[in-house]
Symmetry: C2
Subunit: 419 residues, 2 copies
Amino acid sequence: MSENNNLSVSAAQACVLGFAETDGSEEIPLERALGRVLAEDVRANRDQPPYDVSAMDGFAVRSADLATGGVLLTVIEDIKAGDLPKKTVASGQCARIMTGAPVPPGADAVIRVEDTRMLTDDSVEITVPVKAGNDIRVRGENMRHGDVVLHAGTEITPGVIGLLATVKRARVNVHRRPRVAILSSGDELEALEAPFDADKIPESNSHALMAQLQALGIEPVRLGIARDDPAELAGFLRQGLDYDVLLVSGGSSVGVHDHVRPTLEALGVAMHFWRVEMKPGHPLAFGTRGGTLVFGLPGNPVSSMVCFEQFVLPALRRRMGHPALFRRTVTATLAHPLKHRPGRMEFIRVTLATEANGRLRATSTGAQSSGDLCSMARADGLLVVPAESGNLAAGDLVQVQLLDGSLYQRTAGFVEEAA
Amino acid sequence: MSENNNLSVSAAQACVLGFAETDGSEEIPLERALGRVLAEDVRANRDQPPYDVSAMDGFAVRSADLATGGVLLTVIEDIKAGDLPKKTVASGQCARIMTGAPVPPGADAVIRVEDTRMLTDDSVEITVPVKAGNDIRVRGENMRHGDVVLHAGTEITPGVIGLLATVKRARVNVHRRPRVAILSSGDELEALEAPFDADKIPESNSHALMAQLQALGIEPVRLGIARDDPAELAGFLRQGLDYDVLLVSGGSSVGVHDHVRPTLEALGVAMHFWRVEMKPGHPLAFGTRGGTLVFGLPGNPVSSMVCFEQFVLPALRRRMGHPALFRRTVTATLAHPLKHRPGRMEFIRVTLATEANGRLRATSTGAQSSGDLCSMARADGLLVVPAESGNLAAGDLVQVQLLDGSLYQRTAGFVEEAA
């Protein structure tokens, strides 16, 4: 074994990301673009707003008329959004105006309806003074024709979708998503669709991995379960290497029955490492053939998921052009002591609760057996114990990676009163 | 106007949630279940593990043989995952065993391969003592046949998918997703597919709302743009009321051109409130007809999105059976002062960065005009300023709601060293 064995988590991440480049781009309709990443700069196709518009429902006035309060003005016109004003506002006059409607010539300010009192149908009392420009959104205030409003590399969130619609982009150029294949391996595994066999272990890793990929917007292909037969395994791996990313679940331990690594090497895959100093997830292999990334994930269900989070996820996000590659980490207060012997970085499944002071509190899901998916099913996040850390005490501040599903909480998390 | 005008954000949320009940359930295949919510308890279909298995690659031994270190044992069998052991381990003997393989009769502990040294093909030196039970995962340790392993109301994350596959559930019973329609209204609006018109305002709200719904797993129907014509509007609203949830964008202000509210009332919708003490998003209307929820969202693009986040999102999540209804909030340090006059709760668009101490730092995206989607497109979150708060100072701790896309960050957020 070479010095590439037993990398730290950071070194292994750096190694993987060194081989992950963005895939090509494609044009897709706006309504399918959520979660994708722009592969082009996007420019404004006009000034926004296209003319001076009212920011309020109220009255367009001449500010000079309102040096004092309690002024009576004659309403000469009704302007709603979508109308073009027909008249010019002269001294002593005003126009009723709606939010988003064009400010008529002559007027230089808007008074919101709450600061006025209708006397008759065409006479209004203005109760406050006003400065020029009040409650007017000026032409081009948000964007000017030709400005770059979105840069290549921007993740397409709902706000970005709104902005793309504003500049009339019904189709956008985005980074491609990699094609991903999942292969499970092991004689002991019973497929989901196979009949019950008391001596077998149900195969769950390919399903959990599929869901982890779906959460990233990728629809993977599950190749099936390769039995511990070199020829069958080679056939499956050859198929998998036609994809951009191949995830092999199980079969990558140091044990004598491990065919996966030598078979991958025989198929031309350069293996870059096969162990990472972490818990769970020790036996993790990574190799490449051309642009194809191959991950040999541990067979233990929790180890498989945790390794996906730390290595596969950032690599896939880089390939899809995302600038933010890693899970969001938040600071939380540890609810109880945690034993840790310096050596490996450890990822502890935790639930998060919000304390009265707004701080997050992290509590272990209990048993941290790497075979126990129950704990992973309950977890909001992964508490990261640095490799060289000693034991942790209740009340220590810790870093927690947020997992899928943790973007929501049970209470609103805010109150009307000041903190 | 009644006392239902001008509710606080919390009171308006409570009002909306009081009308939101879970929809029915449906059975779907596991590979489409990510993000859904279980509508049934799920039980284990066997013990997990199904028999005592090795937690390591190593040797199955009799612990009594290893009272002292440096013991030589004869290897009588090779057991890999999926095999059934054929022999009984007697004193002085052991079996080579792989992770997940059944522990053979006679053996009561496993020694990992790292603590052994092969002398010949069938002779191994064990270098450490061992206790009975070492590195054995006991039958039923993770779950026992018949145990409820997942409760109704559980959100289906990748970990839950793995667990469902473990108990062989190829199909699951989940809460339905509501059918949602979006209607835009206003003469000034130019549809995305319509030709460019310099006097019009591009319609973006329905696209942003669609993306917000898609982020919740809902594929909405966009009904189109209703012009400011009572008959046309009534026709569209009638259509929209056939859905479970109807979002009406624009047209819900206090202005004289507002047809939406009276038209909804004429169609039998009971209006519960039409203003909320918040910024942005003041003119927000909510009504119901039977089980249908109707939201009149503000026409300003940012107000529309922020109101969706605070009111529509929790209502939809409750209908879909989610126990966690609200956006995750995190504590951050404010990067700069923020002016705030007590009165309305305010939602400030901010970006988040992770400081060296792991704490999040919130910085305003700049201009907070409710018409400026650029700021929403850049935001990681919404800083919540409590209604009764005064000005905030740089360094103050604030609560930030995480928006879509903020589940990822640019750096890993952890280091190998202890904190």
